[in-house]
Every structure is written in C-alpha cells, then in structure tokens.
Amino acid sequence: MPRLIQKIGDWFEQRLKIAPVVRETMEHPVPTKSASWFYVFGSAALTVFIIQIFTGIMLALIYVPSAGEAWNSLQYLNHGVPLGWYVRALHGWGSNFMVAIVLIHMVQVAMFGAYKFPRELTWIVGIFLLLMTLGMAFTGQVMRFDQDAYWGLGIGASICGRVPFIGAWVVHLLLGGPIIAGDTLSRFFDFHVFVIPGLLIAFVSVHLLMVLKLGINEWPMPGRLVRRSTYVQEYEELAHKDGMPFVPGAIWKDMIFAAFIIFSVMACAAYFGPFGPSGQPDPTIVQTVPKPDFFFQWLYALLAFLPPAMETPALLIGPVVILGFLICLPFFAGEGEKHWSRRPVAVVTILLSAVTLGTLTHLASYTPWSPIMDAWSGDPVPVDYLNGRSPLERQGAAVFQEKQCRNCHSIGGTGGMRGPALDSIAVRKTHAQLVRQVVQGGGNMPAYGKNLNPAEVDALVSFLDTLHPANEPGARDSARQISAETEHFATGTPTGEKK
C-alpha cells in the first residue's frame, strides 16, 4: 500500500514538478524567537477567510440575490432549510472574527515594526486587504437585505452625495439607478461574491508570497536597528544561526491557534445563532431605527458628534489622510528601531486609535444622540414626580409627555439622552429661563413657541419648576429678587416672595 501511494505520488510529481517548491516552503528557516504565539494572527485570518469562502458558497446554494426575494430566501434558510441557520451563523460570526483578527494582526505587525524595510510592500498589500475585509463586511451587511441593510445603503448613498461636483454620479453608480432597488442588491452581490473575493485571493497570495520570500519578521530587540544596507544579510545570519525550519518549528502554534479559532466560530454560531434578518426591506415601514453592524458603529457614532460643517470634509478627506498615512508609514519610518519600548509615538498612536474606536463603538451600543421615538407614549412620568403637585403642574407633566419632550429628555432615568436629563432642571434654570428655552429653543433644541399655546407653556414650565431635589431649592433670578426688595423698601409692603 505505501508503495502504491509512493508510485501515484511520483506519477504526479513527474508532471507537476512541485516538490522542490513545497519543500522550500516547509523548510524555510524561521528565527527561533519568531515562532511565537504573537505570530499566529496572520494564519488565523487566512483560516477564517477560508471558512468564509466555503460557508459563502454553501449559502449561495439557497440565497436569491434579488431585491424581491433575498429577504424571503434568508427566512427560508433560517427556518426551512435543515441547518441553514447554522451555516448562516457560521458565515456571520466568521465575518466578525475576520474583521477582529485582521485588526489584531495589523496592530501586532505595527507594534513589532514589521512594516519596516524590506517588508514595506507586504504592509501596503495588507492595508488593501484590510480595506477589502471591511468592503466584504459592508457588502455582506447589504446581502442580509433587511431594514438595516436598506437604510444602511441610504447612509452610504448620502455619504456619496457629499462628494463635490460628481456626487450625483457617484450616488447613481453606487445604487445602480435612482433609488435603492433590485439593481442595487445585484451590484452589491456582484461585489460581495465576485469582485472583492477575487481581489482578496489575489492580494492574499501576494502577501503570503512576500512573507515566504522575505522571511517572517524577526523578534524585535531594543537597540537592534534596521538599516537598508545591512538588514538582509543580518536577517539571513539570524535565521540560519538561530533559526529552525517552518515545519514543524513554527507551524504547530499556527495550527493550534487556527483550530481554536474554528472552534470559537462554531461555538458562537451554535450558541448565538445567525444575525437577522431584521424587518423586511420595505421603506414604507418608517417605524424603524436603523443601525449598522458593529464594525461600522464607530463611524455611525462619529457622525453624531461631528459639527455639521465638519462632516463633509471629515467624511471625504479623513479616509484619504488615514489611508495615505498608513501607506506612507514604511517610507518615512522604514528604518531604525523595531522594539515597542523605543517607539513611544507608535505605541501612543496605536493605543489612542484603539481607545477612540472602542469608545465610539461603545457609545453606539446605546446611541445617546438618538431620540427615543416612543418614549413619549411608552415611558410614564414617575409617580414621585406627580405626588403632591398642583393640578397645573400635573397638567404640565401631561404636556411634557404629549409634546414628545421625553423623546430627547429623560426623567427618572428613562427617556432620550439627546438633551440633558431634566430631574434637577429647576436647580439650573429659573422660571423665566425655562420659558425662554421652551419657546425659543436653542443649544440644539427646537423652538416650541409655535406648537405650544401660552397655557401649555405655563403648565409645562410649572411642572419643570418642580424638578429639583427636595433639599436643594430651585434657581432664582437674583435681579428679580433685588427689584422686589427695592419695591419692598419703597412701599413698605412685604413682597411675599421670601419667607
């Protein structure tokens, strides 16, 4: 039997002539310290990409890339096809893992100075791989053709519409027509299934080829500087003197981590199940609160905080600047120290970026900038806020609810967070200031003057005047108090205001 296998192998080898390349790849020397658990993320990203290719092909057996049928075919996958839900869940969780691992891989190679000479091109190709991974994530969200996908496309089109001069063309090209419809889904399917995966496979191949040809980045040592004139020779010496063959020296860690990742994707898929689809993509259902998938929530949050005049420049120039910086990085920092302890700027930049993205993503998990659209009808005024109040004040509480104030202002811990919580508003604003704020708005609040009659304003502000802690009196207008006291001196009658 072994002899038969040998003979078959020889027959193929005689024709393929591949054995020397395979042997060279397996035996290429890896510096001993680089055979580390820190160096497993690249192969893990490739592993998840392979899972995505296979589960994607499985999903395409059922999925119908038509705006009229996509949502129904996903319901069928979830509920009608045996284990269809599981394959969807693998693909959905695989995408989350892929984005996460690609980002971790990028942070790792940046921290270890791996982008320096002679691996500049490996890094640049890696930047494009990151872009393609995010492109797959966004187009994948569109494949789930539900309400979030529909309005996510609307957000994409609105961003494209901010491009000067050719904005309308860009919008029409993105959507494949004047509105989000059948042509839109078809072209995103084209990108998700043919264009980007094809490019990904090509770029991953080049990326891997360069890792093999140039060797894996050595473990950084403080004081060991990269110089273009001597690096290649120094690396060869290191890899041969203090190195070992890739198989089995280094590969076992990659394999164990890859298996761990596959088990993790499977566990998440089995336990949490597939993502959506949420409601059907019917734009006439306006009772919806669209939200992107987690990899774009930082952007969703950023767009809530930028001042209006800054948004278009930030959206159009920001990505160019960031991409330009990442691509140019190996050209202005291609030599010198690789060790993180000697690269404070790099470490601080990475940490700041991570904290920024993390904070924005966290904020997007509860979207404090969004009005709670049903707070006015859904969240009652807390009983404590009504006990012992005058009829006018209670009427004011009703106005407070009826006029949707609650959508943006919380009391008793429920309601919107768009505007300030009003539980102690009377401490901060006098009666007159509250009237002015309600009637004229300002500070990012609409003016309610036209939609409240004087009686309603009176009732509402009377209610707001009661919103202060029991041991802390409401704000008073000191000018008014002085004028009242002056009047008291002049007329000799008590003002009755202060006791």
């Binding site: 038509s66 705006a67 009229g68 049928e69 949502w71 309005w151 609307g154 957000i155 089109a157 609105s158 961003i159 519409g161 901010r162 904005g167 309308a168 063309w169 919008v171 029409h172 090209l173 959507l175 494949g176 027509g177 004047p178 509105i179 989000i180 419809a181 059948g182 059907q280 993509p281 019917d282 734009p283 006439t284 306006v286 919806t288 609160v289 669209p290 969703y300 767009l303 809530a304 930028l306 209006p308 278009t312 969004s370 009005p371 659209m373 009826e402 006029k403 949707q404 104030c405 959508n407 943006c408 768009r418 708005g441 990012n444 609040m445 609409p446 003016a447 309610y448 036209k450 939609n451």
Partner: protein
C-alpha cells in the same frame, strides 16, 4: 538568422501588441458605457416621471400625512423596495409641501409627530419643523422636497430618486413643478 529576419519578427510582435491594444479599447468602450449606464440614464432625464399620490381629499388641510407611491422606475424583481413613502403637508387649498422621507443628514427615515409639530430622525437626532426647515441636530439643511402639481383632482409629484446633498428628490432641470 539574418538581421532583417529579427527586425521582421520584432515588427510582428509590435503589430500583435498594437492589434491587441486596439481590440482592448474596442472591447472596453461599450463595457464602460454599460457600467456607466445609471449616469447616462439620469442625464437623459430617464428617471423623471410625474406620479399621483392620490386624490386631494386624502390630504386634509393643515395636516401632514404619510403617503406612499410606487417608484416609476421599477422592475418586477424590486420587491418592496420600490414602494416609496413621503410626507405630504397640505397648508391650505391647493398649496402643499411634499417632503422626502430621507433625513438630509444621512438618509434615514424621518417620522412626523403631529403633537409637537416636528419631524424627528431616529439615527442621529436630526429634527425639522413642520415646514421642513431644520430645527436642530446634525443636518445642514431642511428636508428635501418634491416638485408637485394638482391635476384632475389628484396631487402629483415628480418622482423619484433618492435625495442626497447632490441629488434632489425631483430632478430639477427643466421641470415645471409649480411651487404653490
């Protein structure tokens, strides 16, 4: 092998490159035209259509109501996506304002609250007054409006493309929408 033979082969290689270059241009030109189709169609006014939102009595004076129409540029496989909502405000008589559903910030669907007379956007908190002007939040401008006319007792709007900061709800060029 003589020198003239070498130069003859080189000539044929050059000829081969030139012929394939020509073929590539000839092949690519219509393909690029195909890819840019959505732009040409818009330029030719291919997206412009007048469409009825319903009879006038469906829109009481002084009120703002959600109306729906079927986008005129539609295909059988569009499913529900070519049902487009819009907000119709009848100020008085035959004077209307027809607002696109899409927030001027990032296109999310705005909702009308008649009690407070405001449109609110669920995404980033853009708020508009009843006449569509910006009240607060991130939008740079008021709501997008459709061109409209009243014809045969019907409220007609010029539909329909997704309005963004560079595309209008109705294509403006040469349209004869009567703005009240």
């Amino acid at each position: 092998m003589s020198d003239s033979e070498v130069s003859r082969r080189q000539f044929f290689v050059k000829l081969g490159v030139a012929l394939n270059g020509l073929a590539a241009v000839a092949l690519a030109t219509p393909v690029i035209g195909y890819l840019l189709g959505p732009i040409f169609r818009a330029k030719d006014g291919g997206y412009r259509k007048w469409i009825s939102l319903g009879e006038l009595d469906e829109f009481p004076e002084g009120q703002t109501r959600l109306a729906k129409y079927k986008n005129p540029i539609a295909n059988a496989w569009d499913g529900e996506t070519d049902n487009i909502p819009c907000w119709v405000r009848r100020t008085q008589g035959e004077k209307f304002q027809v607002f696109a559903i899409n927030c001027a910030h990032l296109g999310c669907p705005v909702r009308w609250f008649p009690q407070s007379g405001l449109f609110m956007c669920p995404c980033h908190g853009g708020v508009y007054y009843q006449d569509g002007s910006r009240a607060s939040g991130p939008p740079e401008r008021g709501l997008f409006e459709y061109q409209y006319k009243v014809e045969g007792g019907h409220l007609m709007i010029e539909a329909g493309q997704l309005p963004t900061l560079s595309t209008s709800a109705s294509l403006r060029e040469g349209s004869k929408g009567c703005q009240g």
